[in-house]
Amino acid sequence: MSEQQIKYEELNTGFEFSPSIFKMDSYTVKSYLEATEDRNILYQPDIVPPMAVAALAMMAMSEKFELLPGTVHVSQQLDFMNIVEIDDTLTSYCRVSRKVARGKFQMLTIGIKVLNQRQDNVLAGEIGFILPMN
C-alpha cells in the first residue's frame, strides 16, 4: 500500500521525505531505452542510463507529496557518480532544499541522492519547481 501523500503546505525547507527503494529491472530499462530512442551499445547488456535512474527517482519522489496543479519543472541539476546495472536495488533520499515565495509564485527546490545496494552514491542533484500561489 502506498504511503499517504504529504500536502504541499506541509513541506518546509529541510523537510526530509522517507526513503524510497526501487529496482532497475531489465523490462523498465528496455522500455526506457525504447522511449528515449537511445541505442548506445554502451548500455548492452546490463548498464542502466543515468537518466533512467533520475526518472525513477523522480517518480518515487512524486509519490511522496502532492504537486499542485500548475506546477512547472523549471530546472534540473544532476551528478552521475557510479554506474548502475540492471537488477541493482537503489534507495533514493529527498529533502526540501528551498521553499520560497516570489510574488505570485513559489519556488520549490528538492535535493535528491540515490545510493545502490552497496551504499555507493550513484546520483545526486536538485530539482527546481515553480508553483502558482493560491
Binding site: 522500455s31 528515449t36 543515468p50 533512467a52 534540473q76 541539476q77 551528478d79 552521475f80
Partner: protein, 130 residues
C-alpha cells in the same frame, strides 16, 4: 576550447511521449491528452522535460562514453516545452578544459532548440575524463 561537438537532431513523437510516461510513471495529462493540453493553453500535448533531457544526456554519453556515466554533471533550465512533431537540435560546445591530478574536466555549454530556433533547454555540463 570553443570546439563544437557534433549536433544531434531528434523528432519528438506522441508515441515516444506515451512510452516515456509509462516508463517514468508521469501520466500528467498535459503530456497525453490533447484536449486537456488545449484547455491548459498549451495548444495540445507537450513532451516531458525529462524526456528531452534524456536525449541530451544520451548525446553526452555518445560523446564521452562511460566517463559521462561515472563523472558527468549537468545543470540546466527548461525554457520552453517541446511538442510532438518538434525537431529538437541538441548541441554542445566546449567552454573549458581543466587538467587535474587523476582526470581532466571538460566543461560544455549545452542547448536544445526546436525547428523554430526556440530554446527548449539551456545549461552547462561537466565531465571528468580519466
Amino acid at each position: 576550447m570553443g570546439m563544437i561537438l557534433p549536433e544531434t537532431k531528434i523528432v519528438v513523437t506522441q508515441e515516444h511521449v506515451k512510452m516515456y510516461a509509462e516508463t517514468s510513471g508521469d501520466f500528467n495529462p498535459i503530456h497525453l491528452d490533447p484536449v486537456f493540453g488545449e484547455k491548459m493553453g498549451l495548444g495540445g500535448t507537450v513532451a516531458h522535460g525529462m524526456l528531452i533531457l534524456a536525449y541530451l544526456s544520451a548525446c553526452m554519453t555518445d560523446h564521452f562514453g562511460r566517463d559521462w556515466l561515472t563523472g558527468g554533471s549537468l545543470n540546466i533550465r527548461f525554457k520552453a516545452p517541446a511538442r510532438p512533431g518538434d525537431i529538437i537540435s541538441i548541441s554542445a560546445s566546449v567552454t573549458k578544459i581543466v587538467p587535474e591530478a587523476e582526470f581532466t574536466s571538460v566543461f560544455c555549454d549545452v542547448l536544445c532548440q526546436n525547428q523554430k530556433n526556440e530554446t527548449v533547454i539551456t545549461g552547462d555540463t561537466k565531465v571528468r575524463i580519466r
